[in-house]
């Protein structure tokens, strides 16, 4: 186990009757890392978080925190900070008392509590509101109180379960930046759960994509977005073009022929039926097939085009299949109805596992 290793989850399994909420999940986090668990509803995100917090007892597998196995440690001794989706602020306490709660429980001296609460209030920008009751706060302010309350006792790890789910779009985006900033100031090792891929992209150092209780892919936002490894991840990340077809060996390497007839060269050695993902900005459009060089070019028809500032977005038709393309060469324009040829560099074609 590495020096800066804070969390180590090994082969976690949790079943609810016939539902497998966690299916052999392993995950590790280093000190100061911001990891986002991304997945659709029911993929096991909360179950994973609540297992780490100690509210769900896994059927098998181990959880280590700072090198210590915590499977049998009760939640109140784990030193894990949790922000629940409902926030779970204590309605009968003021802002100050909410934040001071974990310190009072730890029997810290009064002055020390005051000092710490004031410092954390400053970090989350809530100074001056300490006497307010919770119902006198806005949604964003409540969010901050919940985060302050968990940060104030300096937990080994901070767990956030869809903390922004209840906020409207604008406030949500503000809080995403805010949580990142707080993270940079405090340096807390943070594990956040969301089903919003944009949120994951904005906030994470590393994204863990979950599906049906299993980890589908782990990587930086850039990796997950640009190099999805499975059909599920590509679809979930909203990759523009996902095509079904067959790969086979060919003189120059691997050739993929999509069901619609689109031919693509792959730089991976794969064979058989499957899917590929191509981002819109990686589709190259040509007037004549020769422009594609040695790469296969497939005939397509321009359906629509949209000028969007520094790029043009095209919708193309290849034998009835819609292909989306983004062209940054705005000096060269294709008209709707025009016949063109499309190709794609092999390194930009992602072979997807199912």
């Amino acid at each position: 186990m590495g020096e800066g290793r804070v969390l180590e989850v090994r082969n976690l399994v949790k079943r609810y009757g016939r539902v497998v909420a966690l299916d052999n999940v392993s995950l590790s986090m280093d000190k100061g890392e911001f990891v986002v668990v991304l997945g659709p509803s029911g993929s096991g995100k909360s179950t994973l978080l609540m297992s780490i917090a100690g509210f769900v007892k896994p059927d098998s597998g181990d959880i280590y925190l700072n090198g210590v196995r915590i499977n049998d440690v009760p939640p109140y001794r784990r030193n894990v900070g949790v922000v629940f989706q409902s926030l779970a602020l204590f309605p009968h306490m003021t802002v100050y008392d909410n934040i001071a709660f974990p310190l009072k429980i730890r029997k810290m001296p009064k002055e020390e509590i005051k000092r710490r609460v004031e410092r954390i209030l400053e970090i989350v920008k809530l100074s001056g509101l300490e006497r307010r009751r919770i119902d006198q706060l806005s949604g964003g302010q409540r969010q901050r109180v919940a985060i302050a309350r968990t940060l104030v006792f300096e937990p080994s790890i901070l767990l956030l379960d869809e903390p922004l789910g209840a906020l409207d779009r604008k406030l949500r985006e503000e809080m995403q930046v805010e949580i990142r900033k707080i993270h940079e100031r405090v340096g807390a090792t943070t594990l956040l759960v969301t089903h919003d891929q944009q949120e994951a992209m904005t906030m994470a150092d590393r994204i863990v994509v979950m599906r049906d209780g299993r980890i589908e892919q782990v990587g930086t936002p850039e990796e997950i977005y640009s190099r999805p490894r499975t059909l599920f991840v590509a679809e979930f990340m909203g990759t523009s073009n996902i095509l079904k077809g067959t790969s086979r060996a060919e003189a120059g390497g691997t050739l993929f022929t999509a069901e619609c007839g689109l031919k693509l060269r792959l730089d991976e050695e794969v064979r058989g039926d499957g899917y590929v993902a191509i981002k819109a900005e990686h589709i190259r459009i040509h007037r004549v097939p020769e422009e594609a060089g040695s790469l296969p070019a497939t005939q397509a028809k321009v359906l629509r085009r949209f000028f969007e500032g520094d790029h043009i977005r095209y919708e193309l038709d290849v034998n009835g299949t819609l292909i989306k393309a983004i062209d940054r060469e705005v000096r060269r324009v294709f008209k709707a109805g025009e016949t063109v040829y499309i190709s794609c560099l092999p390194e930009n074609v992602r072979w997807l596992k199912e």
Binding site: A53, G54, F55, P74, P75, Y76, R77, R78, N79, V80, G81, V82, F84, S86, A88, L89, F90, P91, H92, F101, P102, I105, R106, R149, T150, F153
Partner: protein, 258 residues
């Protein structure tokens, strides 16, 4: 049609408080028997009622019985409601029905059964026995009140408390209980007022020495129709109003009875 609405509201109000107004006004009569409208205007029945033995004893007994019943009902109600909702208990459904039983068994039968038990255990003539009886017959109100508070509570509140470092007991004392307080207080208020007013079961269980105010009033009215009874009733009404007022001031009922 605002006038129609006003008439309706006035009608409803009159229906509810008119009998009370009659008894209150009747207490000011100068005549020797209760009359309405009152003849003349005097306050002389008040000192007479307030200093009379039957009234004072009844009042004290009622306060003790209702107070004891309320005190008992708090732990019983909180535990019953919380345990039934949050703990895994066998025969939960049966217990839940059983807790509502006091409402389905006529009060008179309850009184008789309790009298039987008290007679065996020597509790007849003990005012605390009356208090216990009041608790037993009215406890569903407390349980309902606390149950709605438990249901309204965010279940993650207790988990949050634990993740912040509070053990089970600390969590219950510092987080669960305060969150249930609104329900406990409105339940306690109901228990106290119901205890103060309860008549049928009390009638069966009390002796001369442990007569509660309603029983004392009833006994009195059968022998005399002196306006001092109206005066005593007025004080009784005031007592109930004061209870509500004080509790409102202390705990801010508006926030809780929503």
């Amino acid at each position: 049609m605002p006038w129609l609405r006003r008439i309706l509201i006035a009608g409803i109000v009159a229906l509810f408080i008119l009998p009370n107004i009659i008894i209150v006004t009747a207490s000011f009569t100068e005549s020797e028997v209760i009359t309405f409208p009152p003849r003349g205007l005097t306050l002389k029945w008040y000192p007479e009622a307030l200093t009379s033995d039957w009234f004072l004893k009844g009042l004290v007994n009622s306060l003790i019985a209702a107070g004891f019943c309320t005190l008992l009902s708090i732990p019983v109600g909180v535990f019953a409601a919380y345990a039934l909702l949050r703990m895994r208990i066998r025969f939960r459904d049966i217990i839940q029905v059983y807790l509502l039983l006091p409402f389905t068994v006529p009060l008179i039968v309850q009184g008789v059964s309790l009298l039987f038990v008290y007679a065996r255990t020597g509790l007849v003539g003990n005012i605390l026995g009356v208090g216990f009886a009041l608790m037993e017959i009215n406890i569903p109100f407390m349980i309902w009140s606390v149950t709605s508070a438990v249901n309204a509570m965010d279940p993650n509140l207790e988990n949050a408390s634990k993740s912040l470092g509070a053990e089970e007991i600390q969590t219950f004392l510092y987080v669960t209980l305060p969150s249930l307080m609104p329900g406990v207080l409105s339940g306690a208020l109901l228990m106290f007022i119901l205890g103060l007013n309860e008549f049928i079961t009390s009638l069966i269980l009390v002796t001369i020495d442990t007569q509660t105010l309603p029983v004392a009033l009833y006994t009195k009215i059968r022998t005399t129709i002196s306006p001092s009874i109206a005066a005593a009733s007025t004080v009784y009404i005031l007592l109930a109003l004061v209870t509500i007022y004080v509790l409102d001031k202390v705990v801010g009922l508006k926030n809780y009875l929503r």
